[in-house]
């Protein structure tokens, strides 16, 4: 009996969290002859025509490609840059190490919205406004990721590396051959969350991009909503295109997402 009640509650929460996504999916599959307003979850004339339709309305595949490009560069830069900096902070002895750690720690304390306007000025002085480079750069190596990597390297055993020092391995070899392979769990967390933040980001691309050819998916969708709000099937198809890759990624690597939340990979 108690178990039945528990499952009933679980199903209720499931309906609340997943229902809206299913409704959007259902709307995106409804045929032109169907009443999209009627509360029918199963389309009576299912069709993929809306996915073709949204591509005719706006260059949705260009948006998706832009988003993908930004996200992939973001992932690579964060994994490489944050690992290197984190390794130096955790394992190399040098003067100024505390200062460097302080720089990254203060980076975490600056909320993005606070520097929105002056960051735009920085991009303009570099002549980068309305480019994808401007979208990538501010988050290319997150201070939080550096500290996550530092913690991961600190948790590794020192002995192996000390043996490598005796064998004459230099800092780069120790980093690349010993430290990085041992910290690959955290590197995966950094990669996942970098991808997600970059793919989902809205405010910064909205401010820095102006030419629709450079739009990422999130900006493109807001634009689509503004122009084609009357056709809910198209908007729904667009949102499904935007969310599907993340859902696939999430389902296949679900454990690492949860681990990432535990380690504080999501910005506060």
């Amino acid at each position: 009996m108690k178990r039945v009640a528990r499952y009933a509650l679980l199903l209720l929460v499931l309906a609340i969290t997943i229902g809206p996504f299913l409704w959007q999916l259902s709307t995106s599959l409804k045929g032109a002859g169907e009443d999209v307003y009627a509360p029918d979850f199963v389309p009576s004339q299912p069709t993929f025509a809306n996915y073709a339709g949204v591509a005719e309305a706006v260059p949705v595949w260009t948006f998706a490609l832009n988003s993908l490009l930004v996200a992939v560069v973001n992932v690579v830069a964060n994994c490489v840059g944050a690992s290197m900096a984190g390794y130096a902070l955790a394992r190399l002895e040098f003067r100024g190490r505390r200062l460097a750690a302080l720089v990254f720690a203060s980076g975490i304390l600056v909320p993005f919205e606070v520097i929105l306007i002056s960051l735009f000025l920085v991009m303009r002085s570099f002549g980068l406004t309305d480019t994808l480079a401007a979208v990538v750069l501010p988050g290319a190596i997150g201070a939080l990721n550096v500290l996550l990597m530092r913690n991961a390297f600190l948790a590794l055993q020192r002995e192996v590396e000390e043996a490598a020092v005796i064998d004459g391995a230099n800092a780069w070899q120790r980093f690349w051959r010993i430290a990085v392979p041992s910290a690959r769990g955290t590197i995966l967390v950094v990669a996942l969350f970098s991808f997600m933040f970059s793919w989902d980001d809205f405010l910064w691309p909205l401010v820095v991009l102006s030419d629709p050819d450079n739009y990422t998916l999130t900006i493109g969708l807001a634009y689509l909503q503004g122009t084609f709000f009357q056709n809910q099937r198209l908007v729904a198809a667009g949102t499904i295109i935007a969310v599907a890759p993340l859902i696939v990624l999430f389902i296949s690597l679900q454990k690492h997402f949860f681990r990432g939340v535990g380690e504080g990979a999501i910005k506060g």
Partner: protein
């Protein structure tokens, strides 16, 4: 032997990005807050003029009210509901991983996707209104997206809905650390599940609850996307639902952008978010002292 500059080569890319795109703009924002700089550049030192202007600016007070109200309304449900859901998925039942995964899905979706989904659900002809009408609870559609107050509350609903899974995971991790023998002792003493929840679980989780309150408060105060999307970019009827971050974006961007004033607004935003974090740290420290 390691050369002296080797560590700095490791640090260089990270330091360059954080200094150029985070710390330097932050310092520049503080400087600009005391100038009359515009989008075209220039700007003279004007002392506290921007802050004086703020005091007389009804848009600023409206935005501050909206962001504060947002914070005040989303924190209680985001502290309580995810904890209840975490208790629901804590037990290892068949299929529980599926439920945990499903409950987390709104977290990974972008604010834009979530905003558009709810715009469609809450539309005057949307699913929510149609179901309410079918149930006979309403005769006319509820103006979720066109009424000044309902729009703000709808945006809050979206924020809470999107945050449930994230805080659920934080609570799950914390629940795993609650010593089991405390529960058992309480059970031996004849305490029922509700008693045990308030006598054992809540005290043990108090630091986590404060953390969740802090995270959701700071996030709530920085609200932008939800209001922007539900209002179709307008910030509600006559801009009545504009949040502080929306005001910063509207003031500081574009060809006529008032960079000086927008920077002053950003500085206020920073001081308030920092204040929220300090209050939380204080609360948690007092917990530890007790």
């Amino acid at each position: 032997m390691t050369r002296w500059y080797t560590p700095w080569l490791f640090l260089l890319p990270g330091l360059a990005v954080v200094v150029t795109f985070s710390l330097a703009p932050f310092v520049n924002m503080i400087v600009l807050a005391f100038t009359d700089a515009t989008a075209l550049g220039g700007g003279r030192f004007t002392g506290l003029a921007n802050f004086q202007r703020m005091l007389d600016d009804p848009k600023f007070w409206l935005a501050l009210r909206n962001s504060s109200l947002y914070l005040a309304c989303i924190v209680p449900p985001l502290v309580v509901l995810p904890l209840l859901i975490a208790l629901l998925v804590q037990k290892k039942l068949p299929g529980i991983t599926f439920f945990r995964t499903a409950f987390f899905t709104p977290v990974i979706a972008s604010a834009v996707v979530v905003g558009l989904i709810w715009t469609w659900l809450l539309d005057s002809q949307g699913l929510v209104n149609n179901v309410l009408r079918a149930l006979g609870w309403i005769s006319r559609p509820v103006p979720f997206l066109t009424d000044e107050w309902l729009l703000l509350f709808s945006a809050m609903l979206v924020t809470v809905w999107k945050g449930l899974g994230y805080y659920m995971i934080i609570y799950l991790a914390a629940l795993g650390n609650v010593p089991n023998d405390l529960h058992e002792a309480a059970q031996v003493d004849g305490a029922g599940p509700i008693r045990r929840f308030f006598a054992v679980t809540v005290p043990a989780l108090r630091p986590t609850m404060v953390l969740v309150a802090a995270l959701s408060a700071v996030n709530g105060f920085r609200v932008f996307s939800e209001i922007y999307l539900l209002s179709g970019g307008s910030g509600g009827p006559g801009g009545a639902n504009t949040s502080l971050v929306m005001l910063i974006q509207q003031t500081g961007t574009g060809l006529t952008g008032n960079v000086g004033y927008a920077s002053a607004l950003s500085l206020v935003l920073f001081v308030i978010t920092l204040g929220l974090l300090l209050v939380t740290l204080r609360l948690n420290r007092r917990e530890e002292a007790l």
